[in-house]
């Protein structure tokens, strides 16, 4: 079981240091630089961090609403998990239709408002932003579930105590909600962050290979004859995921 689990990573690391003829080499990594590895890493980091932040903010917002009692709460909470049932590919198609520069629904909306349409692929930041939005739509629900569980676990008394101590709603959020959600935020970020770094189908459909991110780069390198190059890209991803999680544990774990 364990062997099965660790085999892929071990093999990737091993292959990344060899030529297709089995000679040791660092060329695979060198070649990555030709394909703008720095830019790709930058894009990947922007995408990952951005998407996680958007999801976290949305999840905090929705959870803050859903911890309260109000009429229609059940309906809202039901609606808020709907995207979980939508396959990523389907979500990607939908957002591709929304953010098409030509014939996109977002531009139609702007058109209704009397604004001119936006070229959603004008530069790599906007492109990445669109991927973030689409990804957040699909994945905020899972984040919300975790954050909401966290919010329910904070005793109401803490809020009462803080109110009596003179803290208004905003300061209660900053001083009570956020610090006590730390562990839940950490878990949510790990679970989401790991898959966020490996996000593949969504950018492939929405933006293709440009701007490139690590997974699409690895995929385009995979189509070449040797696996070694793709392995090198995969190892880079692995390193990043590990760093991300280590950081997360360090920040979220200490109390």
């Amino acid at each position: 079981m364990l062997a099965f689990a660790f085999y892929p990573s071990a093999r990737a690391v091993y292959l990344s240091f060899f030529t297709s003829q089995g000679k040791f080499t660092l060329d695979n990594y060198k070649e990555l630089f030709y394909f703008n590895l720095y830019g790709t890493i930058e894009n990947t980091v922007i995408l990952t961090v951005g998407a996680l932040m958007i999801q976290l903010l949305l999840a905090l917002g929705i959870s803050s609403i859903l911890v309260r009692e109000f009429k229609g709460k059940r309906l809202v909470s039901t609606i808020s998990i709907i995207p979980m049932g939508v396959a990523t590919v389907v979500a990607a198609i939908t957002f591709a239709f929304i953010f098409q520069t030509s014939g996109g629904y977002a531009n139609t909306f702007l058109h209704y408002l009397g604004l001119s349409g936006i070229n959603w692929y004008f530069n790599s930041y906007i492109s990445l932003f669109i991927v973030m939005i689409a990804d957040s739509w699909k994945n905020t629900p899972i984040m919300t579930l975790i954050i909401l569980a966290g919010m329910y676990s904070i005793p109401r008394d803490l809020y009462y105590a803080a109110a009596l101590d003179g803290a208004g709603p905003l300061r209660r959020f900053v001083h009570i909600t956020l610090p006590n959600l730390k562990k839940f935020i950490a878990i949510a970020l790990i679970i989401r962050g790991v898959s966020e770094f490996n996000i593949f189908a969504l950018p492939l459909i929405l933006i293709g290979y440009s701007p490139s991110i690590l997974t699409t780069l690895a995929y385009s390198l995979y189509s070449t004859t040797t696996e070694n190059l793709a392995s090198a890209a995969a190892v880079i991803i692995l390193i990043f995921v590990s760093v991300l999680i280590a950081l997360n544990i360090k920040l979220g774990g200490k109390r």
Partner: protein, 414 residues
Amino acid sequence: SSHSSSKKVVINYYDDLAPSEAKVFDNYIIPQFEKEYPNITVDLHVESAGKMVGTIKALVEGGDVGSTVIAEDNMIIGELIYANDLMNLQPYMSSLPTSDLIPSMTHLMNYEQSVYHSVYFIPFRGNIPLVWYNESVMKEAGITSPPSNWSQLMTDAKLIYQKTGVGPIMFQGHGGASTSTELYQWMVQAGGNPFVFNDSGDVKAFTYLDQLSTYFNPDYIHGYWGNYKGLADGKYYILDYQWPYIYSTMKSEGINVSGIGFYPGPTGPVNNDHLVGGDVLAIPKGATHIHSLLLFIKFLLSYNVQRDIIMILGEPAVNSQAYNNLPSNISSLFKAEESAFQTAFFREPVPWISEWNNIADSAFVKIVEDHAPASQIPSILSSANQEMYTYLLTNYNSTVAQEYEQGYFAPLYG
């Protein structure tokens, strides 16, 4: 084969088809064969050209090929030959109707003989990407016929842009095989050898595209071989190089295609040659029921099927017989293909084509998307050449790398 021959044979037939094309195979072409040979069934598996390589490699290495025939892109097939995953068909040539091949395809087979001294694949279909355009907008701009050469294209694009404010040209800038295929065509027309990246023709082509990109539609960054939407909804007016199958796709979606025109495209400064994206047939090593497979290949090359390819799919056939007595109402789409076919070339099926694609993409991004200064174009292309060279040195050997450097690998003319 360990199976008893009286049992029904199931042929696994891999092909890279658009759904509209797959439908024709599944509902029309294959049933004809099955009717003729009641003991054989054919299962069509649609897989993209790149993925098919992985699948076949795995099947061969795993020793469970079964009775399998593949129709693979004429470029990508090189990867399988190089990996030694294909069966040598030389012994069976006598039973295959290759004598009827059209001249350009015969040439492809000659090339095969001279390089591999054997037969690993047999030409099956030809296919040439076309340029598509919005007829009414052209007319409104006072352009009566589509641009006939590169400078005309630049002029017309500018005119339309000034009139409408819309970047009229859609280019396949998405990356991957579609972008590099287009680039290959442009470089050849400018007189370059695309594989080497940095001869004067290659530089000319990239310089021209960089200038032309002023009139690209912003969406070009996502243009790939599935794109036509903007043409349908009027977001852009000229769709540069797209395979013919999109025509039937658009029709099936209910798009009004009456105002959409197409032609083989503008002539380049050096030549008017058109890239043939053809598919070839091959049998993976270790396949079983060779006899049945050969029957199927023979069937696919037969007059009837080849004729269907022209008449139904609107693509050029490889069997010269199929062209005899074509009805006069044959689709305009085929006519355009046929005219492009008059001056056609193949890309040499090198096994490192995917890596070449990646490097070409990357050059395209630097020069056209990121608008590197024109003065840097030669050096960007030199480093592309250098990168390809290093790759060949690392992953193949110095002979291949040297041959590459000397322009040994080049477009093939029919």
